[in-house]
């Protein structure tokens, strides 16, 4: 057994205090990042990658079509009008697809929004690749203006055969205060 101090009681105390401090640090430096990694890998909560997909798919799989369903939710007091331009698309795995979400800020003042994607079934999240998405960035919008927010995605050819419908949900959050407060989001 490793001895850190000649006094056996002090030795025990030093080891235990180190353990306690390490467990506190463990929450921040292990649990939080590990959870994000696991979410990405397993699609917990249908979280999708926050970065653009750049790999190339080996051609289009014409043999099956997947139904993509788009839904949009405004969180809490978010007053924007926000929704998909089309609610449903039929796509082939491997092919690149484009659509837009429409947003309008009805208030007189400029605001900043952040859209959070979530995919259901969660298993499909790892196979739903976004090559371009308005959710990668914060979306500032002047008062009383509307905008088209583009989304470009590819459904992976390796998508499990039993998945036939994928639902992509965006929740729009008002983060004006968060950004104005000049605090960096994690």
């Amino acid at each position: 057994m490793l001895r850190l101090n000649n006094n056996p009681v002090l030795d025990t105390v030093i080891k235990l205090v180190t353990t306690a401090v390490a467990m506190f640090a463990f929450v921040f430096v292990v649990m939080v990042p590990l959870y994000d990694v696991l979410c990405d890998a397993l699609g917990i909560n249908g979280k999708t990658s926050g970065e653009a997909y750049t790999a190339v798919q080996a051609g289009v799989d014409e043999s099956r079509t997947i139904t993509i369903q788009f839904v949009a939710t405004n969180n809490e007091s978010m007053p924007w009008e926000f929704g998909p331009s089309v609610t449903m698309m039929k796509v082939n795995p491997g092919a690149s697809n484009d659509t837009v979400f429409l947003a309008r800020n009805p208030l007189p003042q400029a605001m900043i929004a952040q859209a959070i994607p979530s995919v259901s079934p969660a298993r499909a999240a790892a196979y739903f690749h976004k090559t371009e998405c308005f959710c990668f960035n914060q979306q500032p919008l002047d008062g009383e203006t509307a905008t088209d927010m583009p989304l470009q995605f590819i459904v992976d050819r390796d998508l499990p055969q039993d998945i036939k419908t994928i639902t992509l949900s965006y929740t729009l959050f008002d983060i004006t205060d968060l950004v104005d407060g000049d605090v960096a989001a994690r």
Binding site: T12, F24, F26, V27, L42, G43, I44, K47, I175, R186
Partner: protein, 520 residues
């Protein structure tokens, strides 16, 4: 430090500056009893409101504050400190040590507790009211949507966490370094063993709780988004962190209770504990498993099916070591020569009711069935069978068992037995019907309910009032014993009791084992 051979100092300073494990243990015990009464009175308000359908006494917001504070005060204020108090009193005497390894820190770890709970209780009088998000304080209800008092709540959690960690370090240091010559690990009384394992659990998970509330604090005041989807965080992450702490926490509460019962059943069966070794291994196995089952509290959050299966299987496994313990206790009783004084009654009450709580726990571990049980009154019934009939009953048993040793006076046996029977009956009337309303579809934490649940809720409230009233009898019995109980100076109060604590004089002198005993 002064001369250790003096008796206690006089007056208030004895208690403020004491480093004596018995004084500190006494303070912990009284403090936890005060918290038990406080948390109990919150429960009485809850049950009074639920006596009939409709809102009668309090408004829904205050009701939520009551459920929240009831949980927090009972878990962190009553049950945990009561077992720390017991550890302080008994562990040095059981292993033949003169005191705890770190007496000065022992004093601190007690004295930071009362301020922490004063702060928590004071939130009741703050603008926006006390925390109202449940004792599990799920984000974002406890962050973005919390009353301003949440900051004080976080601070008090930090302080009481620190107190627990300091207390645990002290217990581990004592057990590892201060055992009398010849007292090997495998000769330690079960109570010491269970507490040693509990203390390791505490050192491992209290910092995790501290981390969780620190993240809440940062989300609320410093603009981070650990638990808010808006900034890329995730409210479900909170639940994972909380239950990574929370599941070991429930074993932290129950393991010392196992220890107490493992002391008392052999004493009144006049027969050694059956399967000591397997008891130790089972305790260690439960502690180990407690780290890999946390997500069984979260079957409905939408985990991948592989995750559900893993946590279901791991949780079911806990039934094995827990079963071993129950079988061992029953085997200890088998072919003994039993008598049924109050401590034994409470220990048997524990054994029966904890087993029922264990069965419902097994039912809850089955993920598909849990989709129906989750967050219903079935869960409330389950954890009260484990927490109250488990921890509180064993604590009552412990007090009756060691009280004569502590104060040199015998308690009133008739009153003790009356306390047991009223508690036992009241408890079952209060909590057994909660299984029914839960299965029938009544969610937990609601201030008002549909009419079909009315009868069982009224019954449950009546039981709760009976159980609550029985604790006043307990208080009276203990105070009457200390003040005017029949003096006793027998070293061994109970003829079947074993262990070093029964070799010292009664009442236990202020300093014991200044020369270590020799254990054969």
């Amino acid at each position: 430090m002064g001369d250790h051979h003096h008796g206690p100092a006089k007056g208030l300073s004895r208690w403020l500056f004491t480093t004596n494990h018995k004084d500190i243990g006494t303070m912990y015990l009284w403090f936890s009893f005060a918290m038990f009464i406080l948390g109990g009175s919150f429960a009485m308000i809850i049950r009074a409101e639920l006596f009939q359908p409709g809102m009668q006494l309090v408004d829904p917001a205050f009701f939520n504050q009551m459920t929240t504070l009831h949980g927090l005060v009972m878990v962190f204020g009553a049950i945990m400190p009561s077992f720390v108090g017991l550890a302080n009193w008994m562990i040095p005497m059981m292993i033949g040590a003169p005191d705890m390894a770190l007496p000065r820190m022992n004093n601190w770890s007690f004295w930071i507790l009362p301020p922490a709970f004063l702060i928590l209780a004071s939130t009741l009088f703050m603008e926006g009211g006390a925390p109202a998000f449940g004792w599990t304080f799920y984000a974002p209800l406890s962050t973005t949507y919390a009353p301003p008092s949440v900051t004080y709540f976080i601070f008090s959690i930090h302080v009481l966490g620190l107190s627990s960690i300091m207390g645990s370090i002290n217990i581990i240091a004592t057990v590892m370094n201060m055992r009398a010559p010849g007292m090997t690990y495998m000769k330690m009384p079960m109570f010491v063993w269970t507490w040693l394992i509990t203390a390791f659990l505490l050192v491992a998970v209290m910092p995790v709780l501290a981390g969780a509330v620190t993240m809440m604090l940062m989300d609320i005041h410093f603009g981070t988004s650990f638990f808010s989807a808006a900034g890329g965080g995730d409210p479900v992450l909170f639940q994972h962190i909380f239950w990574f702490f929370g599941h070991p926490e429930v074993y932290i509460i129950i393991l010392p209770a196992f220890g107490v019962v493992s002391q008392i059943i052999p004493a009144f069966s006049r027969k050694p504990l059956f399967g000591y070794d397997s008891m130790v291994y089972a305790t260690a196995a439960i502690a180990f498993l407690s780290f890999v089952v946390w997500a069984h509290h979260m079957y409905t959050v939408g985990m991948p099916v592989a995750g559900e299966l893993f946590f279901m299987y791991a949780t079911m496994l806990i039934a094995v070591p827990t079963g071993v313990k129950v079988f061992n206790w029953v085997s200890t009783m088998w072919r003994g020569a039993m008598t049924f004084e109050t401590p034994m009654l409470f220990a048997i009450g524990f054994l029966v009711l904890f087993t029922i709580g264990g069965f419902t726990g097994l039912m809850l571990s089955i993920a598909p069935a849990d989709f129906q049980y989750h967050d219903s009154y079935f869960v409330v019934a389950h954890f009260h069978y484990v927490m109250v009939a488990g921890a509180v009953f064993s604590m009552s048993a412990a007090v009756y068992y060691w009280l004569p040793k502590w104060c040199g006076r015998m308690y009133n046996e008739t009153m003790g037995k009356t306390h047991f029977w009223i508690s036992f009956i009241g408890f079952n009337i209060a909590f057994f019907p909660q299984h029914f309303v839960g299965l029938a579809g009544m969610p937990r934490r609601i201030p008002d309910y549909a009419l079909q649940f009315a009868d069982f809720n009224m019954l449950s409230s009546i039981g709760a009032f009976i159980y609550g009233a029985s604790q006043i009898l307990f208080l009276y019995n203990v105070v009457a014993t200390i003040v005017a109980g029949k003096p006793t100076s027998e070293e061994k109060t109970w003829d079947g009791a074993e262990g070093l604590e029964w070799t010292v004089a009664t009442p236990a002198p202020y300093h014991t084992f200044e020369t270590p005993p020799q254990v054969k």
